[in-house]
């Protein structure tokens, strides 16, 4: 299973960048929830465990999380708000699954760094050309 939602950014197209910028501005709350959810090491551990093993119950997650079951439930709620996990009831137990495609805003951020460095490379090359003289 790969990382969903990855977008290529054409750094030579002003239109693409403009659209990208508008899109990022439109989704601050989704990005905030995502980064807040990932800011806690226990939540990251739970998310990583779910990406590896999938379909786990609160009981199974509590066994390896090192915190109490109510805390695991609280962390799962935060991960759900960030849409990093989804849950499904099966009989008496709820199973949680990772949604790695929700990491898209993080990948967008990386894409912006790609744009940043392309710009710096341009400036570096300009400088090198000036240094000739």
């Amino acid at each position: 299973m790969g990382l969903g939602g990855r977008r290529e950014i054409n750094v030579n197209s002003g239109l693409t960048i403009h659209n990208h910028l508008v899109m990022v501005l439109d989704m601050p709350s989704a990005a905030d929830n995502l980064f807040k959810a990932l800011s806690d090491p226990t939540r990251r551990a739970i998310f990583e465990r779910l990406t590896r093993d999938g379909g786990l119950t609160v009981h199974a997650l509590t066994a390896c999380a090192g915190v109490s079951q109510p805390m695991v439930s609280k962390h799962l709620s935060a991960l759900k708000r960030a849409r990093l996990v989804r849950n499904r009831r099966r009989g008496r137990e709820t199973h949680y699954q990772a949604r790695p495609e929700s990491l898209a805003p993080l990948v967008d951020w990386i894409g912006d760094y790609g744009v940043f460095w392309q710009g710096r490379f341009d400036r570096l090359e300009d400088l090198l050309n000036r240094m000739d003289k």
Partner: protein, 142 residues
Amino acid sequence: MTTSEEVTRSVVVERELAHPPEKVWRALTDSSLMEQWLMKNDFQPVAGREFKLRREPMPNWDGVIDCQVRAVDFCKTLSYTWGTLGLETVVTWTLTPTAAGTHLRMEQSGFGPDREANYKGARYGWKSNMDGLERVLEQIQS
């Protein structure tokens, strides 16, 4: 299955430069030259040395990137940490001599929800916008 290794991402930018590695190295490691293409800085090419890159302060960000030199291999490799907005990544420059000059490669690695990273979500949107906006402004100016 997705593993934490797969979630961690790098940014790689490569370019063929019509200039010899010695000259490219100078632009990458001389503090006053770095300021002309990267940012204001107090960089010194000494492994272990901490330095700061500075941009104009803006709302919610003092404009400072905290860095530490990791490796300096004259005219071949330069590597430093890049810490800003709660996320530390590593920037590595690799110079390879070519017939025409230098193949320059920049890799910024360590993006991802790994154990070391400590994301500060509230600032994320702004940071993201700024870099995109800067590029747009640069295009308008040119």
